[in-house]
Subunit: 330 residues, 2 copies
């Protein structure tokens, strides 16, 4: 863990949120080490320990009119655990720093922690530590710890790889758009937002099948594909027509007069995985994945030489925007 | 990391903050594991990994009229690193989840992170990960990771052990009291509050010399001695007359009409260590500690059979209160 005296520039995609992270990394200089992946990695015996931290803030990431306190806790923990999925790590524990309004009761605090605890328990990660404070709004910082024999980072995608996505995209955004205009979201869309399932089993399956690079889709496909392209030093070619979209995204996209594929690609917080798999990985392998992991795996593009993300829809190039947690409230 | 099906009650001292933590632990049941020490411990090769998380919230733990943003970052990181000191672990890295007002500039964010990074760099812990969000006030969650061949927990103090304290107590409280009444604190007291030094070297020195139990004094001697007594299942006898007090605490204690030893024992956030050392550890050893670690080591009491903390001042029993971060703003 001795940081190198000259740090390479952080390999993140474009965007104001990432400009801020780059500015911080520059200010830290040698006081930072290994930033820019889903997880920090530390050697631990014969394996590697993966760590990641994720903060969820009331009125930035969620509103209490939309979620129960238990769902707030689940969602915060699942978002953090998703980073372990993106690294193909097996979760071992979580530390939860909970900031609660002074009016919060023991029952309220227990509800949030219980939700977080249940998300962790589902993937084998008990709460192993934490801290408690008052504050003006709810805020939950979850740090997750996992272990892996061989981590899959965002770097490593090679020209000729196929690009694959787990599950479906756009469900969380469909719920968000419904809430924003004062409606109740469809039940499946609501579940996608409040109860995301970290793709731990899927991430480990893909790693075992030779994934060269992975990233979890918290910033939306638009944002996270840029990170993977930048970290791997390659171009990603995405054919958005192939994108697996959540059923409830269709109606919401229509309301916004957006093609559903763009709606889904630019929505954040689906917590699915984008993986670069060797070119020979094909439809039969994807069916095996679906049988064993219980969710779809869809090829959405290829890795090529070059840089950046090049998306097309109906044969025409389209620019994708990422989902900016920093600039934009829910 | 498989949690036991029946969890023992959390071995913490009394207090409303700790009642809340106990309620949360009860609600979590088997979804929690190993709570109640300075650090969570995970096996890692031939050693043990120690992890701890600590959150600092604006207007709860600090005010921006008192501290620069760089000092906010330093203090947040040092408070978290202090938990590694209490476990005798060598820091390896920090993950920082930073919540900042939307008005914060890149320079502001970099200042906080730079302060945190400097506290980490001083003890060999670079920033290895983090997250960024907006929120109504500044809030910094720091998760620290360290390694130790043999952790020193709060449990393990034995009847016959001597109780020792590093450095001096009451400096941080002296600064806090000065600020609260609208004054500027004395320079040394201010430094104790804004620039605490995690006692990493001291903690490892004490562990190497056979410390049976340790705790860092974040909740004040009043609160943390109770934790150590509860975790070890012993009684702690403290002779407050022997307490090493910060020079600036004297005048502040006089203003409050409090004996300076009580003022110091009930002040929080000094981030010194309380250690239970074998009975044969004596004044010569303490002088060696001072020579090698550059701070004082003072014997303040003994471990006996029984339970709870039994403090005396001038031969009379006194009740000690802890410092409650949860109930009380700065």
């Amino acid at each position: 863990m001795s940081p190198s005296p000259v740090l390479p520039a952080l390999q993140l995609g474009p965007g104001r949120e990432f400009d801020r992270i780059r500015a911080i990394a520059r200010a830290l200089g040698t006081r930072a080490s290994g930033l820019g992946d889903d997880c920090a990695l530390l050697p631990a015996g014969s394996g590697t320990l993966a760590l990641s931290t994720d903060v969820s803030v009331e009125n930035v990431h969620f509103r209490l009119e939309w979620l129960s306190l238990e769902e707030v806790g689940w969602r915060a923990a699942a978002a953090a655990l998703s980073d372990l999925a993106g690294e193909a790590a097996q979760p071992e524990g979580m530390l939860v720093a909970l900031v609660a309004p002074a009016s919060a009761t023991e029952v309220d605090l227990s509800a949030v922690m219980s939700g977080a605890g249940s998300a962790g328990a589902m993937v084998g990660a008990p709460v192993i530590g934490g801290d408690l404070s008052t504050g003006p709004v709810w805020s939950i910082s979850v740090t997750v710890v996992g272990r892996t024999a061989s981590p899959v980072t965002r770097a490593g995608a090679r020209p000729g790889d196929g690009l694959w996505i787990t599950g479906v995209l756009g469900g969380a955004r469909a719920a968000l758009e419904a809430w924003r205009r004062g409606d109740r979201p469809e039940s499946r869309a609501r579940t996608a937002f409040v109860h995301p399932e970290p793709r731990i089993v899927a991430g480990r399956w893909l790693a075992a099948r030779g994934a060269h690079a992975m990233v979890d889709l918290s910033d939306g496909l638009g944002g996270d594909a840029e990170h993977l392209a930048a970290a791997s030093g390659v171009a990603l070619k995405l054919t958005l027509d192939r994108l697996p979209v959540a059923p409830d995204a269709v109606a919401e996209a229509r309301r916004l007069d957006l093609p559903v594929q763009l709606f889904a690609a630019e929505g954040g917080e689906d917590y699915e995985l984008l993986a670069a798999l060797p070119g020979e990985f094909g439809p039969t392998d994807a069916m095996e994945f679906q049988r064993e992991c219980g969710i779809a795996l869809t090829r959405v593009g290829e890795v090529e030489q070059g840089s950046g993300v090049h998306a097309t829809l109906g044969g025409r190039p389209v620019m994708l925007s990422g989902f900016n947690h920093f600039a934009q409230g829910p």
